[in-house]
């Protein structure tokens, strides 16, 4: 008989149960015990044990990745509660949401938290992607984690879209109809695909059940798996990219601090601030609920959810094949391959690559931010290629010609910068990426806030 078992006989039952759960002390007192806790705790062992001291500075990452996780947890907590009330059928869905809002004490708060967390999650994840891009976090050992991150963003968008339909009000019904209509424009596979998602000729009971199954089971499962992989790869890369000043060499042996408590405590504080913010938002701005869905009457205007408003706006200016296939496909391929370009310089950790990169980036934001709204207005009122090119197929006059002209802007940026002798390909690509991202942000804002009845341009305050 070993000494350990003999020791068990002398300790209390509670102490023996506790020791069977956790071997070490509950509150670590020194670094050796802290390290052990990180390695031996299931959740914590996804994180790096040591993190470079420079990376825990708040303004390096703004905690955007951690905030995304907190929002996901809020979504899970509130979503699970709503599962017990919601009925996924066209006859009962709207009524069950009304019952949630009116008969359950904290119903509106829970739905509000779910609504605001979902919308904030899209914004925070896009900002996170932007942060990783601008600090060169997609380079070096973190290339594939950029791809996983993009996949996460895709599934968050799909989860948001499928959740949008569930209240079955006018807003959600017609937004879903429009998005499925957009999918129907994909060449060859479009109609079968839209039909398979819709489960019939128009949005109905089959669509609702499909969206419900995805939103409550498939989406969360995929997101949890991808998140675990994403965090695990951060650990494998020994934390996030280490910030450095332009011209500063890589620090081969950076100062490292233990994740617990240095990073964890900071993240915990940020989580509390974020949760408080979401609570306050949900208290003052309730989640919208329109009238019950009426398949016989489209509201005017009927819009896609705001995070797809950019694509809907593209549809106002380009042939559908370009708006829903060519342009988005090029954008996604471009984003996926950002880490795999052969760059002339290693700029990982340097904010916007160099002093010159910052200057070019600022010009790119301002330039695209001014030119894109101008182009939208010009296309709305003056540009009309189908009239100017009589006899040309719509694919040419509304697709290829305007798309080629629109591509001149980013292409010109890249070519001009590459001609300039002292600009590396990193900086030229960064400027081009910033031009495209700014343009898409402007398109999203235009589609979400500046489209009135009949989808004509209008000021937000006149709607």
């Amino acid at each position: 008989m070993s000494s350990g078992e003999r020791g068990d006989q002398r300790t209390s039952l509670a102490a023996r149960i506790r020791r069977s759960l956790v071997r070490g002390p509950l509150l670590p007192r020194d670094d050796r015990q802290r390290k052990r806790i990180i390695i031996e705790t299931l959740i914590l062992h996804f994180r790096p044990v040591w993190v470079p001291a420079k990376t825990i500075r708040y303004t390096h990452t703004f905690g955007l990745g951690g905030m995304s996780l907190v929002l996901f947890l809020l979504l899970a907590a509130t979503g699970i509660l709503m599962l017990f009330v919601y009925e996924p059928s066209p006859d009962a869905a709207y009524g069950s949401i009304v019952a949630l809002e009116e008969e359950i004490r904290f119903g509106p708060l829970v739905r509000g938290i779910h609504y605001w967390s979902a919308n904030l999650l899209v914004i925070i994840m896009v900002l996170h992607m932007l942060r990783v891009y601008l600090t060169g976090g997609y380079l070096g050992p973190r290339q594939f984690n950029w791809v996983i991150g993009l996949t996460l963003l895709l599934f968050v968008l799909l989860s948001n879209l499928t959740g949008y339909l569930l209240p079955w009000d006018q807003l959600s019904y017609w937004a879903t109809t429009i998005v499925l209509g957009m999918i129907g424009y994909l060449p060859l596979a479009g109609e079968p695909l839209a039909g398979a998602i819709r489960g019939g000729e128009q949005v109905g009971a089959a669509t609702l059940v499909r969206f419900y199954a995805f939103h409550t089971t498939v989406g969360p499962l995929i997101l949890i798996s991808l998140m675990a992989w994403h965090f695990w790869r951060v650990r494998q890369a020994r934390g996030v990219v280490i910030p450095r000043a332009p011209g500063e060499a890589h620090d081969e042996r950076p100062d490292r601090v233990l994740m617990v408590p240095n990073l964890l405590l900071r993240e915990f504080c940020l989580a509390l601030v974020l949760i408080a913010t979401v609570m306050v938002m949900s208290l003052f701005f309730t989640a919208p609920l329109g009238e019950a869905a009426n398949p016989g009457m489209s509201p005017n205007p009927a819009r896609a959810p705001w995070y797809f408003a950019g694509f809907q706006e593209l549809l106002m200016h380009f042939h559908p094949v370009f708006a829903v296939l060519v342009i988005p496909a090029l954008a996604v391929i471009g984003l996926l391959f950002i880490p795999y370009v052969r760059y002339e310089r290693d700029t990982s950790g340097i904010f916007m690559m160099s002093v010159q990169g910052r200057r070019l980036g600022l010009i790119a934001v301002l330039g695209a931010g001014i030119i894109t709204p101008f182009l939208i207005v010009a296309d709305e009122y003056w540009i009309d290629f189908s009239a100017w090119l009589p006899g040309a197929s719509p694919m040419l006059s509304e697709g290829l010609v305007p798309a080629a002209l629109a591509a001149i802007l980013p292409a010109a940026v890249y070519i001009t910068l590459r001609r300039a002798r002292r600009v590396a390909n990193n900086e030229a690509i960064q400027a081009m990426v910033i031009v495209l991202m700014t343009a898409f942000a402007v398109l999203t804002a235009a589609g979400a806030f500046f489209r009135g009845p009949g989808m004509a341009l209008a000021w937000p305050w006149s709607l």
Partner: protein, 169 residues
């Protein structure tokens, strides 16, 4: 057995492991494909398959009930019955061909106007103003014993209006 042993037996020899490993991998792929096929069957729209046998026929009413140059809505059947000026009938799907919004008939203006992106269609369903890419879809109209009947089980796409689409009594 070591890799060296394999080499001595010549190039055409496949080791037991070398034989089974790709087969097991292939079986894994087959299992995955099976799951995808099963999933695809679960996702396939059911409505068409079940109702194909007992086709959905909406009895619209006697021919004389519809005045020439008029449009009558049938919300239950999700279509409009248009009677053209020459007395011919067309059953038009009410979904806009742009993104699927429901188009209301504007009787004074004599046109369908989509509330979503202001596509407009005339009484024959032809596009008056884009972004709609093609005319409104049609349902099959039949006139039996002066009664107008519409088969709503399947809508038919068309690229342009032509006279053969019109059904006359």
């Amino acid at each position: 057995m070591t890799r060296e042993d394999d080499k001595h037996r010549g190039d055409d020899h496949v080791s037991r492991r070398g034989f089974f490993a790709p087969m097991i991998a292939a079986l894994g792929v087959v299992a995955l494909l099976e799951y995808i096929v099963v999933a695809a069957d679960f996702l396939r729209p059911r409505r068409g398959r079940i109702r194909a046998a007992a086709r959905d026929i909406v009895r619209a009413g006697p021919v004389d009930q519809f005045r020439p140059n008029s449009v009558t809505a049938f919300p239950e059947g999700r279509f409009y019955l248009a009677r053209l000026a020459d007395g011919g009938f067309l059953a038009l799907a009410r979904q806009c061909t742009h993104l699927g919004c429901t188009v209301p008939w504007d009787a004074p203006q004599k046109r369908f106007v989509c509330p979503c992106h202001s596509s407009a269609f005339d009484i024959r369903g032809e596009v008056l103003s884009p972004p709609a890419p093609r005319p409104l879809d049609l349902y099959e109209v039949r006139i039996e014993n002066d009664i107008v009947k519409v088969d709503v089980s399947r809508s038919v796409r068309r690229h342009a209006f032509d006279a053969s689409q019109v059904v006359r009594s």
